[in-house]
């Protein structure tokens, strides 16, 4: 079996800590939202805030890393082979057809992945960030000159983004099993080494 080193140490650390934080933010976020009681509102709100700040910190490093290593190019969208990927997931994967995408160190994401991650990067995250920050600094709005903002709308978009994130996570977690073997992708994200198709 062919193996290539895809995910560097920082990237793996980033991925798993981000995953944990996002799961935790969803858990506490939907509790704040009133969907269920788990930690209790007070703790949920304070954990959510702490986790949000931690994610901010992680992101500073991640953005720095992505830019300085040039890895940002991994997210440049391409429509090339998107249809082939879709066809593969809809039929090929069941018939053991060859994977249309060849993973390499310079292109580690397949075109669908690129699009999906880009969507997270440029749609979900910015919404969650901006609304999250406004939410955090609710009391400073008037001194920032944005007193006209309404919490209702800020929360509205924060919640929409939270749902989008949830849907992304469901699809993402499932697709980790679509590697050469069901655990191949997960292993890759733990060890860095991917078994290719």
């Amino acid at each position: 079996m062919e193996r290539i080193y895809i995910f560097k140490r920082f990237e793996r650390f980033w991925h798993w800590s981000q995953a944990a934080l996002i799961l935790f933010l969803m858990l506490t976020g939907f509790e704040i939202h009133g969907t269920y009681v788990f930690f209790g509102y007070e703790d949920a709100a304070s954990y959510h805030t702490t986790a949000a700040w931690t994610l901010v910190g992680l992101w500073v490093f991640a953005v720095f890393w992505t830019i300085t290593t040039g890895e940002w190019k991994q997210y440049i969208p391409t429509m090339d082979k998107v249809d082939a990927m879709l066809k593969y997931y809809l039929t090929g994967i069941f018939t053991d057809a060859p994977h249309p995408f060849k993973q390499t160190r310079v292109t580690k994401h397949n075109p669908l992945q690129r699009l999906a991650y880009l969507f997270v990067l440029v749609i979900i995250n910015p919404i969650i960030w901006t609304t999250g920050w406004f939410y955090l600094f609710y009391n400073s709005w008037s001194s920032w000159g944005v007193g006209w903002l309404s919490l209702e709308w800020v929360a509205f978009f924060h919640v929409i983004a939270a749902f989008l994130m949830l849907i992304f996570v469901i699809a993402h977690v499932y697709l980790t099993t679509a590697g050469a073997t069901p655990l191949a992708h997960i292993k890759a994200m733990i060890t860095g080494w991917e078994e290719t198709h």
Binding site: A45, T95, A155, V159, F163, I167
Partner: protein, 549 residues
């Protein structure tokens, strides 16, 4: 490659961004610290006034070593030294029972307001003036300019033996008399000499001798003021706790020239200017939580400080009122008053706690303790429905606390809402004044005849009774501000941040945990569920096809 330069620029821009954010944050923290400082200072100089530190011992004054015959005689003696005292009292609400709200121009004060307890003072002064700081107010001929009419003792007694008796127009009993009436018990004549020789500062007892008994009995009216506050424990009142701070009413209700601060006719609903420092020349009300604690009193949970721009301290820190084990009156239905037994005698039925449930004189009551307040927006403006105002509904708001979410001066306040049914003059379309107590033929408590009582009451207001009356439902709000609980007992976040929480009546704000956009929730969960089902089916097909293959 030109990429390194882009990288450099991007990193630089990011670094600057974070520095700016950090600076903004630091300046916020700094201004917070500045606002906090006075509050800390105020908290450390707490010295409860336990024993008199006065430089004068009144028992050594020969002016007071006399067998005074009446209250006014005592007052004259007081005024020999305290030459300006009566003039000062003459300017106060305690004396005039009248106050004009400069904003609404409404003429308020006990003399003018109709409430839904004993309803109105007019025509009933001989009784009501048991809580007037004066002697002799029995009708409109009372001389408000006479200095010896001021009652110094009722506020400055320290013996606890001074009691003004309803029916004596503000006087105590100078002779032994049966009290309560028909009880077979006798009150000895008041010992004015002893009392005069022992005057001192006001106390929880002296203020309480009227304010704990509003509405005609202990704990009846306010809900947050009753005799349990004379000797309260920690759980009841963190400020007045006898073994703790042991504060008196006057420690918060600072007075100047006999004018006592704090008023429920014009309460200070919000103050965002921080703690009041001694010497400060601004004319803010010193009787607020903020005056000592500032606007950011929460040290460990900063998020709580973010609530002070919307929520009055009282809302969280007085989780319930009437916590002193005494029941406060919640409703009063005058419409059933006047029923007598077969022999034509007054009926009184008592509940298990010894509280009147029915009294022929007054109608039906209900009482509660440990009552959860209702909550309203309140900006300090109170509008009253006054006598003579045309009222065309069967649900009258005796007073209304004004304010809303988008009013920067409004805070969410806890209130006791007292509900009742009381007489209304149909012809004059106004809440009615009726003659309640007195030895004459018209007094309702003697004759149980509404028409006579109303004719006399309305006449005293210079209006002719139309002869046609009915009972209307009324509501009156009382701000809850006393009986501040220990911080462990304050409301928790989740008591409001949930569906049907404490603030369910306040609907003009978005509160996380309570509000959401139902359509977004429905769509969100549906799509998430579909995604989950989708991947499960996909996975299932993969498993099945791979087995086959």
């Amino acid at each position: 490659m030109s990429i390194p330069r882009i990288q450099f620029l991007a990193v630089g821009a990011l670094a600057i961004l974070f520095m700016l954010a950090g600076m903004a944050n630091a300046s916020v923290e700094k201004s917070k610290a500045a606002a906090k400082a006075p509050a800390v200072a105020a908290a450390t100089d707490k010295k409860p006034a336990k024993e008199s530190k006065s430089t004068a011992d009144h028992s050594k004054f020969k002016e007071l070593d006399k067998n005074f015959k009446t209250g006014p005689d005592v007052t004259k003696a007081c005024l020999e030294c305290h030459t300006e005292a009566a003039k000062q009292v003459h300017k106060t609400k305690h004396w005039n029972w009248e106050w004009v709200n400069p904003q609404t121009k409404q003429k308020l004060g006990k003399k003018n307001v109709i409430n839904n307890f004993c309803t109105s003072v007019e025509s009933n002064q001989t009784f009501c003036s048991a809580c007037h700081v004066g002697y002799g107010w029995s009708d409109d001929s009372f001389d408000f300019a006479k200095e010896e009419n001021v009652d110094c003792i009722v506020c400055h007694d320290t013996t606890g033996k001074y009691k003004k008796i309803p029916g004596l127009s503000g006087h105590p009993n100078y002779k032994s008399m049966e009290w309560p009436p028909h009880s077979g018990r006798f009150r000895p004549a008041v010992d004015l000499k002893k009392i005069a020789q022992n005057v001192g500062k006001t106390s929880r007892q002296t203020c309480g001798s009227c304010h704990f008994f509003g509405g005609g009995g202990n704990a009846v009216k306010h809900g947050d003021l009753d005799t349990s506050l004379i000797n309260p424990g920690h759980a009841l009142d963190v400020h007045m706790e006898t073994n703790g701070l042991n504060m008196t009413c006057g420690d918060c209700h600072l007075s100047d020239s006999h004018e006592v601060s704090g008023s429920r006719y014009a309460p200070t609903a919000s103050d965002d200017k921080g703690a009041l420092i001694r010497g400060s020349q601004d004319e803010r009300n010193p009787t607020t939580c903020v005056a000592c604690h500032g606007n950011e009193p929460h040290v460990t949970e900063a998020k709580l400080n973010h609530h002070t721009d919307k929520i009055a301290c009282q809302t969280c820190h007085i989780p319930a009122y009437a916590r002193g084990n005494l029941h406060t009156k919640m409703t009063w239905d005058w419409s059933t008053a006047g029923k007598l037994d077969e022999k034509g005698h007054r009926i009184r039925t008592k509940g298990s706690e010894g509280r009147d449930l029915y009294d022929s004189k007054k109608g039906h009551f209900t009482y509660e303790r440990y009552v959860i307040p209702e909550y309203v927006w309140f900006n300090g403006n109170v509008r009253f429905t006054l006598f003579g105002e045309k009222v065309d509904t069967d649900k009258v708001k005796i007073n209304e606390f004004l304010g809303s979410a988008d009013d920067p001066d409004a805070r969410i306040w806890p209130v006791k809402v007292f509900r009742g049914k009381q007489p209304y003059d149909v012809g004059n379309e106004t809440l009615a004044v009726f003659h309640t107590a007195g030895k004459d033929d018209a007094a309702f408590w003697g004759n149980y005849d509404w028409d006579k009582a109303l004719a006399a009451g309305m006449k005293a207001m210079d209006v002719e009774y139309s002869g046609n009356m009915k009972f209307v439902e009324t509501e009156m709000s009382w701000p809850i501000t006393h009986m501040v609980a220990p911080k462990e007992d304050a409301l928790t976040c989740a008591q409001c941040h949930k569906e049907n929480g404490r603030l369910h009546a306040i609907q003009d704000i978005y509160m996380p945990g309570r509000n959401n956009t139902p359509i977004i929730d429905k769509m969100g969960w549906t799509l998430a569920l579909l995604a989950l089902i989708g991947v499960l089916i996909h996975g299932l097909i993969r498993i099945v096809t791979s087995k086959r293959g």
